[in-house]
C-alpha cells in the first residue's frame, strides 16, 4: 500500500551509505569456543546469575535472571559454565561482571515450560530486547504501549554501513509478515506501518512481494536520511507528531519495534524460543569479507571479525554498532550483546573522526542538522563554562546523541562526547537530589511519629480518654502522608 508522508523530521543529513556486503547472503558463524554474557552494564547490576561454575547448561537454557524489567539471558549453545567474573565490557566501564560458557554440548535443547501466559512476562523470560541498538526491554515496551494506536515496525536502518535489518527483510520477508500478523493479533494496534528506506531496493521488493495485496500492513518507503530510524524522528516523519520532551512514544499510544525485535518477539511468543542469536553486520575496510553473519549472542568480537577476514594491521578502530552511534572498543574480547547490530573494523580509509577540537566558528551547521532542534554549539559553550543548569534549560536532556552535529562540525569538536558526559552528571545530580529529598521526608516522618508517641505518653498520665483524643487522626495522617510521599519519590 502506498503511503503519503506527513512531514519530514527536523534537521538530519544525507550520509554516504557505504553498505558494503549488504547484498551478500547471510552466513552463520561457526560455534565459538566460549560465550560471554554480561551481568552488569556500566558496573550497575542488571542480571542475577542462576547457574554455578562447572554446571552443564543446554542450548536455550536460562543462565541469568533480569532484574526489574531486564530480559533474561539464555545460553546460545550448550556447554559448561567456565567462569563467573570480570570481563572486558563494551561500555564506559572497562570491566563488567560476566558468565562465561565453554561450549561443548550441542545436541540437546532446553525445553521451556509454557506456563507463562502474560505476553510481556513471556517476552522477558524469553530474553527479548530491542535489537536496533539500545536493547530496551521489549516486554516493558509492549506493556507500556497497551493496545497502541499505531504500531511502527522500524526497518529504516539509517546508519551508514549497517545492513543487518535489510538482509533480514530480504531473506525472511515471509516470516516477517507472518510475525507481524501474529503479533498484531496479540497487541491489537489501530494501524500497522512497516517503514524502510527506499535505497534498500532488495528489501523493499522482497517486502512488497511478501505483503502481496495485504492492506492492513502499510509499507512506508522513506527517502534515506539520517537519523530517520530514531524513534522520535520516525514518528515525526510518518505521523507528523512530536513525542513530548521527557516522555516516550508510548505516551502518544505508539509502539515502535525494530524488525529484528519483531522476529525475536514472534519466536518467543509463538514457539517459546529464547533470543540467542542475531544477525550482525560486519563491515569496514578492515575486513576482507564484509556482510551479515548470524552470531550467537555472547560470541567475542574477535571470533566474528576473524570469520570475516579481519586485518588487524590495517584496522585503527573497531566499533560495536554503527559508525554514528556505535561505541569504539579498546579490546576485541568484548562480547556481542542483544543490541549489537554491527561490528565495524575501520581503517584510515574510513574517514575516522579525530576530534581535534579547534575553536568553534559558530558556522551553525550543527544547529542545522540537529533533529532535536537544539543548538549544539551553545550547549557545548555552556558545558565548557560549567553552566550545567543553563545547558539543561536549552535542551541537554533532549539530545538523542545521534552524532549528526559532531559529524558535520568543521572544527571537529567532540560535541556528542561532551553532551553524554554532561547528561550523565545531570542524572547523578538528580539521583542525589531525589535521595536527599527522600531522606528529608523520612526524617520528617520520624519526627511526626515521635511527636505522636510523646503526646500519647503525656495523655496517659492525664487520662486514657484524653489520650485517645491526643493520638489524633491528624498526626497519624501526617505520618502516613509523609511515608507515602517518600515512597512515591523512590519509585520515581
Amino acid at each position: 500500500m502506498m503511503f503519503g508522508l506527513a512531514k519530514k523530521f527536523d534537521g538530519g543529513l544525507k550520509l554516504p551509505p557505504n553498505k558494503h556486503g549488504a547484498e551478500a547472503p547471510s552466513r552463520i558463524l561457526p560455534i565459538p569456543e566460549s560465550l560471554t554474557y554480561y551481568l552488569t552494564k556500566n558496573i550497575k547490576e542488571t542480571h542475577q546469575c542462576i547457574v554455578n561454575i562447572g554446571e552443564t547448561v543446554l542450548f536455550g537454557q536460562s543462565i541469568a535472571r533480569g532484574l526489574g524489567h531486564q530480559p533474561d539471558i539464555h545460553a546460545a549453545y550448550g556447554g559448561v559454565i567456565e567462569a563467573i567474573g570480570s570481563k572486558a565490557g563494551p561500555y564506559d566501564a572497562p570491566e563488567e561482571q560476566a558468565v562465561i560458557i565453554r561450549t561443548s554440548e550441542y545436541k540437546n535443547v532446553y525445553k521451556h515450560d509454557d506456563k507463562i501466559k502474560n505476553k510481556s512476562d513471556l517476552l522477558k523470560s524469553m530474553g527479548v530486547a530491542g535489537m536496533g541498538g539500545a536493547a530496551f526491554p521489549t516486554g516493558e515496551k509492549v506493556q507500556a504501549a497497551g493496545a497502541p494506536r499505531v504500531w511502527l515496525i522500524n526497518g529504516v536502518e539509517c546508519e551508514p554501513m549497517l545492513s543487518c535489518d535489510q538482509c533480514l527483510m530480504r531473506e525472511q520477508a515471509d516470516k516477517l509478515v507472518q510475525a507481524i500478523r501474529y503479533l498484531a493479533a496479540e497487541i491489537m494496534p489501530g494501524r500497522v506501518i512497516l517503514a524502510l528506506e527506499s535505497d534498500k531496493a532488495d528489501a523493499v521488493s522482497a517486502m512488497r512481494l511478501a505483503l502481496g495485496d495485504v492492506t492492513d500492513i502499510e509499507l512506508a518507503c522513506l527517502p534515506p536520511r539520517y537519523p530517520q530510524g530514531g524513534e522520535k524522528q520516525l514518528i515525526q516523519t510518518l505521523l507528523g507528531l512530536e513525542v513530548p520532551s521527557g516522555t516516550h512514544a508510548a505516551h502518544l499510544g505508539i509502539l515502535v519495534l525494530n524488525v529484528a525485535t519483531v522476529m525475536a518477539a514472534f519466536d518467543a511468543l509463538a514457539y517459546h524460543l529464547p533470543l540467542t542469536h542475531r544477525l550482525v553486520t560486519v563491515a569496514g575496510q578492515g575486513v576482507s569479507a564484509p556482510g551479515n553473519v548470524w552470531v550467537p549472542i555472547g560470541a567475542a568480537l574477535k571470533d566474528v571479525l576473524d570469520f570475516c577476514g579481519y586485518d588487524g594491521a590495517a584496522t585503527l578502530r573497531v566499533t560495536v554498532g554503527g559508525p554514528m552511534m556505535g561505541r569504539a572498543v579498546n579490546s576485541l574480547d568484548v562480547a556481542v550483546t542483544k543490541g549489537t547490530s554491527a561490528i565495524l573494523a575501520l581503517t584510515a580509509a574510513d574517514e575516522l573522526a579525530v576530534y581535534s577540537a579547534q575553536p568553534c566558528i559558530r558556522c551553525g551547521v550543527c544547529t542545522e542538522v540537529c533533529p532535536a532542534r537544539l543548538q549544539p554549539e551553545d550547549m557545548y559553550f555552556n558545558i565548557r563554562a560549567g553552566r550545567l543548569n543553563r545547558t539543561r534549560e536549552t535542551g541537554l536532556m533532549d539530545c538523542i546523541a545521534c552524532g549528526a552535529c559532531a559529524y558535520v562540525c568543521p572544527s571537529e569538536i567532540p560535541l556528542v562526547a561532551s553532551f553524554l558526559y554532561a547528561q550523565q552528571i545531570c542524572r547523578i545530580e538528580d539521583e542525589q537530589k531525589a535521595r536527599a529529598a527522600y531522606i528529608g521526608d523520612l526524617v520528617k516522618a520520624r519526627d511526626a511519629r515521635l511527636a505522636a508517641r510523646r503526646s500519647v505518653r503525656m495523655g496517659k498520665s492525664a487520662s486514657r480518654e484524653a489520650a485517645a483524643r491526643t493520638v489524633d487522626p491528624a498526626a497519624m495522617e501526617k505520618v502516613d502522608a509523609a511515608r507515602e510521599k517518600a515512597r512515591s519519590k523512590i519509585d520515581k
Binding site: 520532551s245 521527557g246 584496522t315 551553525g364 532535536a372 543548538q375 562540525c409
Partner: protein
C-alpha cells in the same frame, strides 16, 4: 602485527569532509576572481596593499598567539586570519600609505580578534571594525579612491605608498566612487551624475578592491552558496534589507532625490556585503531566523546611513551595530526544542 586500537571517548567514529582550514581556503578561492580583477584594474597598488595587509596580519596574529600561549601559534595557520586580512584589504582604498594597511590589520587581528579571545570569540567583525577605526581616525585617506584610469607603474606606486604618501600628492590620482559622487553632488546641490550601471556591474569604476566588480563577487558568492559553505539566509536577508528601503524611497520620494534600486543591486559593495561580509559566521547569529533578521537590518541600515547620516559608508557601521545585538537576536529567535 596487530596495531593498538584507537578508541575515542564517544560520538561518531567517522567524520564528514568539512574541515576548518579547508572552509577558509574555499572562501579565499571564492574571493579570488574579484581579487585578480582588482589587480588588473588598479595595477600594482592593489597587489601591494593586499600583501601589506596579509603579511602584517599574519605576523601580528602569530605574535599575539605566542604571547597568549606557546602552543597556540598553530592556530595562526588555520586560514581565518588570512581571510580577515583579505576582506579588510578589499574594503580599504586600493592605494594608500603603507601604514594604513598595517594599522588596519593590527586593529583587525590583534584588537578585534585576539584580545577578545581569538577565533570564534570575537564579537565584532574584524574587517569592518578595522575599517571603521581607520575611517574615523584618518578619513582623508579612506575616501581617496584610486582612479583606474590613472594607475601607476610599479616604481611610482611604491613611491606613492611608501615615501610620498601625503594626502595632497594623491589628489591628482584619486576620485570618488560612483555612489559617493552622487551623494556629494546631492549634498552640495550640483547636477546629479548618471551612474553607469554596466561599468559598475562588470567593474571599471573607482572604489575599494571589494567594490570593483559586482559580477565576479556574485560569481564567488554563488560558488559559496552552491558548495554549501554559506546558507541563503544571510545573503538573502541582506539583499532584501538593501532593496526594500531603496525601492520604497525611490518610488515614494520626490523625483530625482533617490538613486534607483538597480544601482544598489549592481554595486560591488552590495555584493561584497551580501556574500562575504555579513556571512562571517563568528559574528553572526547561529540560527536561521535570527540570521535573516540580522542581515536584513544590516542591509537596511547600510542603505539608510549614507542616505541620511553623516558618513558616506553605511555597511561597516551597520555591521558593527548589529554585531552587538547578536545575543539578543539569538535569544529572540531560539528554535522551539523538539517535543516542548
Amino acid at each position: 602485527m596487530e596495531k593498538e586500537l584507537k578508541p575515542i571517548k564517544q560520538g561518531p567514529a567517522v567524520h564528514g569532509k568539512s574541515q576548518l582550514q579547508l572552509l577558509m581556503l574555499k572562501v579565499v578561492l571564492a574571493l579570488s576572481p574579484a581579487l585578480i580583477w582588482a589587480f588588473y584594474v588598479f595595477g600594482w597598488a592593489a597587489f601591494i596593499a593586499l600583501m601589506l595587509t596579509c603579511v602584517s596580519g599574519f605576523v601580528f596574529e602569530w605574535v599575539a598567539l605566542r604571547l597568549r600561549s606557546r602552543g597556540r601559534t598553530r592556530q595562526a595557520y588555520d586560514g581565518s586570519g588570512l581571510l580577515s586580512c583579505i576582506l579588510l584589504a578589499m574594503s580599504l582604498p586600493p592605494m594608500g600609505p603603507w601604514w594604513l594597511y598595517v594599522l588596519g590589520s593590527f586593529v583587525s587581528i590583534v584588537i578585534t580578534k585576539q584580545l577578545f579571545g581569538g577565533l570564534g570569540q570575537n564579537v565584532f567583525n574584524p574587517a569592518m571594525s578595522a575599517r571603521v577605526f581607520l575611517l574615523l581616525s584618518c578619513p582623508a585617506y579612506m575616501t581617496a579612491w584610486l582612479d583606474p584610469d590613472k594607475k601607476a607603474g610599479l616604481v611610482d606606486t611604491l613611491r606613492y605608498m611608501f615615501i610620498d604618501w601625503h594626502r595632497e600628492s594623491y589628489d591628482a590620482l584619486t576620485t570618488a566612487t560612483t555612489l559617493d559622487a552622487w551623494r556629494n553632488a546631492k549634498l552640495t546641490g550640483l547636477p546629479l551624475p548618471q551612474p553607469e550601471l554596466t561599468d559598475m556591474f562588470v567593474g571599471s569604476t573607482a572604489g575599494s578592491m571589494g567594490e570593483v566588480s559586482a559580477m565576479l563577487l556574485l560569481l564567488g558568492g554563488m560558488y559559496l552558496l552552491f558548495s554549501g559553505i554559506i546558507r541563503w539566509h544571510l545573503p538573502a536577508g541582506f539583499l532584501a534589507g538593501v532593496m526594500l528601503p531603496a525601492t520604497l524611497f525611490w518610488l515614494l520620494g520626490p523625483e530625482g532625490t533617490h538613486l534607483s534600486p538597480l544601482v544598489y543591486l549592481v554595486a560591488g559593495s552590495t555584493m561584497m556585503g551580501a556574500f562575504f561580509i555579513v556571512t562571517d559566521p563568528v559574528t553572526a547569529p547561529v540560527t536561521p531566523h535570527a540570521r535573516f533578521v540580522f542581515a536584513f537590518l544590516i542591509g537596511a541600515l547600510s542603505y539608510l546611513i549614507p542616505a541620511y547620516g553623516l558618513y558616506p559608508v553605511g555597511l561597516s557601521f551597520a555591521v558593527l551595530l548589529m554585531n552587538s545585538t547578536v545575543p539578543l537576536l539569538e535569544r529572540l529567535f531560539r528554535p522551539r526544542i523538539f517535543g516542548r
